[in-house]
């Protein structure tokens, strides 16, 4: 994402979003930030693990990191 249409993301661009299918439930797909950054070496099928992106002291949202690179 090089540009966001929402307020509050101007300091974050560019950021990278991934569409993740859960191993536990095929076809359940969720979208989150890839914490490895926008230049991560990424391809379809790459394994990720869930992590959390802390937006404020009391708010965290699910995000992802490439497996084996944490």
């Amino acid at each position: 994402m090089h540009q966001s249409f929402l307020p509050g993301f101007d300091q974050d661009v560019p950021f990278l979003l991934v569409d993740v299918e859960l191993v536990e439930q095929p076809d359940l797909r969720i979208i989150g930030r890839l914490m490895d950054g926008p230049d991560a070496d990424l391809h379809i099928g790459a394994s990720v693990q869930v992590t959390f992106e802390r937006l404020s002291p009391d708010i965290a949202v699910p995000a992802f990191a490439l497996e084996g690179k944490r």
């Binding site: 979003l17 569409d19 391809h43 937006l55």
Partner: protein
């Protein structure tokens, strides 16, 4: 049992009007719609119609006010401002507003609910950013995507296009061929926003990414514009001034897999899209090989690939090579002129109107210097193959 459309070739388009397509019209959208509707009725040789249908969705993710007659124009608003007490007035609620509204108009004429139905589409470009939204908290299903920064239709199409690129190895040069083709054809159309303004491959390739791999040129430009078409029975059409263009079949579809808002994975698009296409051919009683004027939807450029493949006009995964090899070049004999009407990329954000209008103009032999003598059967697509629809038009009943 045959699923051939019972009303196939029994209802026809008999007239039209298209307003100039401008970034910001001098008149309000409502005034533009009333004027365009009057011109369409006059073009069809009629003083009045008794049916009105539209899809009035305002396709913005931004925080813009919805006001009938200003930012949208509903069927009832238009009838009232033309001074008509309509026998039939209805709005299509789903995606794929153009094929949706056309199929409602055809059903109304075929059933006798109305004799002459005006289908219009009014699109507005509000002041300020089209999609910018100042929301400070997200509710309902948006809470699962908005805090992550996934918002608006560019993110939606960027995901599916990224899947396509990685799966099939599509290049930016191939998409440049799509844009060059759309803008070449749009530059030839008198009412187009892009009249006399083609786009070069170099300009396309130089554009920065907004939501990678989507750049500005992959998106149709927001505009003010109105188009209107008059439908009546094939029987009544014989007495009207212009050659009728028959509706041979129509189809729509919708995904059944539950998804987050604006989450359109490529497999959803193509899976449901192939069913939409199957329904379309069954409805019209023809196949893709008989179509000589396919008009694919292109509000976002990757839809060109998705529709070409969903309709079976080229193999799945091959559309990018097909366009790069001149497969949709409207000036190349033997090619499929899939964007000959300029599409939304070559006209401005008229939704599925350019596709429908090109089918009408070519098949009624009213395309003037752009006339394609060989055109007999057209397909007008709108929206995504899995969330929109398509209509088959014919110059002759069959």
């Amino acid at each position: 049992m045959s699923r051939r459309f019972v009303a196939s070739n029994k209802v026809a388009i008999v007239g039209y009007a298209q307003s100039p397509i401008e970034r910001h019209a001098e008149q309000s959208l409502g005034v533009l719609a009333v004027d365009t509707a009057r011109r369409a009725m006059a073009d069809a040789g009629l003083d009045q119609v008794d049916g009105f249908v539209t899809g009035s969705l305002f396709p913005t993710a931004g925080s813009h006010a919805l006001e009938d007659g200003v930012s949208v124009v509903t069927a009832n608003w238009l009838a009232a401002h033309l001074g008509v007490n309509p026998r039939y007035a209805a709005g299509f609620q789903g995606f794929g507003q153009i094929p949706g509204a056309v199929s409602m108009a055809v059903n109304a004429v075929a059933s006798g609910a109305a004799d002459h139905v005006l289908v219009h589409r009014a699109l507005h470009n509000p002041r300020g950013s089209y999609h910018a939204n100042q929301m400070s908290d997200a509710h309902g299903s948006q809470q699962w995507i908005v805090p992550q920064g996934y918002f608006g239709p560019l993110a939606m199409i960027a995901l599916a296009y990224n899947e396509y690129i990685q799966r099939y190895g599509a290049s930016r040069e191939a998409m440049a061929a799509v844009l060059v083709e759309a803008r070449k054809n749009g530059a030839r159309i008198p009412w187009s926003y892009w009249r006399d303004r083609p786009l070069s491959e170099e300009e396309y390739l130089a554009a920065p990414m907004i939501n990678d791999p989507i750049c500005r040129f992959d998106c149709d430009i927001p505009i003010d514009g109105v188009a209107a078409f008059v439908f009546t029975s094939a029987e009544r059409a014989k007495d009207l001034p212009h050659a009728p263009v028959y509706v041979s079949g129509c189809a729509t579809g919708a995904p059944v897999t539950p998804r987050l808002p604006l989450h359109w994975p490529l497999d959803d698009i193509m899976g449901v899209g192939s069913e939409t296409a199957r329904r379309l051919w069954e409805s019209a009683g023809i196949g893709p090989a008989e179509v000589d004027l396919p008009q694919v939807y292109d509000g976002f450029s990757p839809f060109v690939y998705f529709w070409l493949e969903a309709l079976g006009l080229c193999p799945v995964g091959e559309a990018h090579r097909f366009v790069l090899g001149g497969g949709i070049d409207s000036d190349r004999p033997g090619a499929l002129p899939a964007l000959s009407g300029g599409g939304a990329l070559g006209n401005g954000r008229m939704h599925g109107v350019p596709q429908m209008l090109e089918c009408y103009l070519q098949l009624s032999r009213r395309a003037a210097e752009r006339q394609r003598q060989e055109a007999t059967i057209g397909v007008a697509c709108h929206s995504s193959p899995h969330f929109g629809g398509a209509v088959v038009y014919s110059a002759e009943p069959f």
